[in-house]
């Protein structure tokens, strides 16, 4: 067998450089999941008018993790707007429920209009209004504490 040819790993270098420089631009990505850790995190979930949790993936086809990303993007935008207006916000955990409200309203509206196939009109199957909850998780001295706040309803 002839000796194998040697070639530089240009594709490895090029794809790595493009992904890191272009960021989130499908199919390029810097894969930001779990890019940092802190003692704080949060998630969102949904309830009906009676406060009963809704199985949101079964109802809409969207997972809570995907809905959190949509909500989180809006929270980020709100934070940027507030900071541009002169407010000082040290971290997302310090935003008030009122400041998070537009993100909650946007997520509820998006969810109503973008249920996956065969699930249109899912809101008619639940007792209105649907509420979005924001749950802060914090670790202090090896123990986790959670704080649950209603952000918006529709």
């Amino acid at each position: 067998m002839p000796a194998p040819i040697r070639l530089p790993l240009f594709t490895l270098v090029a794809v790595t450089a493009l992904c890191l420089s272009l960021g989130e631009n499908f199919p390029f990505s810097n894969f930001p999941m779990y890019r940092s850790f802190s003692d704080y995190s949060y998630y969102v979930y949904f309830t009906d008018a009676d406060g009963k949790p809704l199985p949101i993936k079964d109802l809409t086809g969207h997972r809570t993790s995907a809905l959190k990303k949509i909500y989180n993007d809006e929270v980020k935008d709100t934070r940027k707007e507030l900071e541009a207006a002169g407010a000082k916000i040290d971290g997302y955990q310090f935003m008030t429920p009122e400041q998070r409200k537009p993100a909650g309203e946007y997520t509820l509206e998006w969810l109503e209009e973008n249920a996956k196939e065969g699930r249109d009109g899912w809101t008619s199957k639940v007792k209105a209004p649907v509420r979005i909850h924001h749950v802060d998780i914090k670790v202090t001295d090896g123990k986790t504490t959670k704080t649950d706040t209603v952000v918006a309803e529709k």
Binding site: P8, P32, A66, W110
Partner: protein, 312 residues
Amino acid sequence: MLGQLKSASSRLYKAISTPVEHHGLVEILPMRILFAIVCAVSIPNAFNWDGFAYDGQPDPVGLAHFLDLTFLNETGTWTTVLIVYWSALALFGIGLAPAVSATVAALIFNLAGAFEGSQGADKHHLQVIGLTLLVFAVHYIVAAIRAPKSLFRPSYLHHNLAIFHAKQAIVATYLVTAIYKLWYSKFEWIKDSKHFPVQLVKTRDMDYYNSLETPDPSNWFDRLSPAIETFFLNNPNWCRFFIGSGLLLELFAFLALAGRKWGLIFGLALILFHLTISRVMSLTFEENILIIAIFFVNVPGWIHAALKKPAL
């Protein structure tokens, strides 16, 4: 000065060069066909002839910056797109006109992926397919430009080099995620990973609110999960060790390009890594697992090698 520059660039060229592994046609063909099948079933909205159901692209990514992709919502259009896509993949799988078929498949997959990702919740399980298809397309286009005769039926050399480039694209996705984690956290990622249990709590709760299913007491992992959280909370160094080993695996995943054996070792390690994440974090990366199994674990290649080996 010029001489020194030439010498430095020559050294760099050698440093990032590696022997191109010979894959027999019995490996290349299954690799391409299996990859084409993974692409066929992984495209967003596959098997739904009605088209997408998004009323816009509120958070555009990729091609959605330049194109209004809502035309993919139209039933007739999407049905046609799917048929063209699957036809292109069938041709690509058997190695016919890959400069055209891989390009069409890459374009359609990346359009659909960009539309899905433009809804504000970009997921990260499809990029590896989009990038690998793109690299295949670029390779075969360049090959067709250099040797127009290879447009319809490229030679073995072109097909073998295509695998060489595709593997690099796959490995690059792991390298990127490791570099970005280190850069973003200012190299404190491993130190901060002691906070990982917060993510475990978050994931477990979010899972519950998907379907309101309570943990199954007969399932050993459901029983073990709270114990893992408590253990990591009380033993931050063990937490750093387990989480940090995942980062090192991603950072050194490029060693999978160092030959068939290294490919197998890193391939199996990365599959185990994904299976663990899938179990612990509910983040499934089935596409990554399949692609690594196809290109790095490469079962047909090992069977072929075993059969070829003369008996002692």
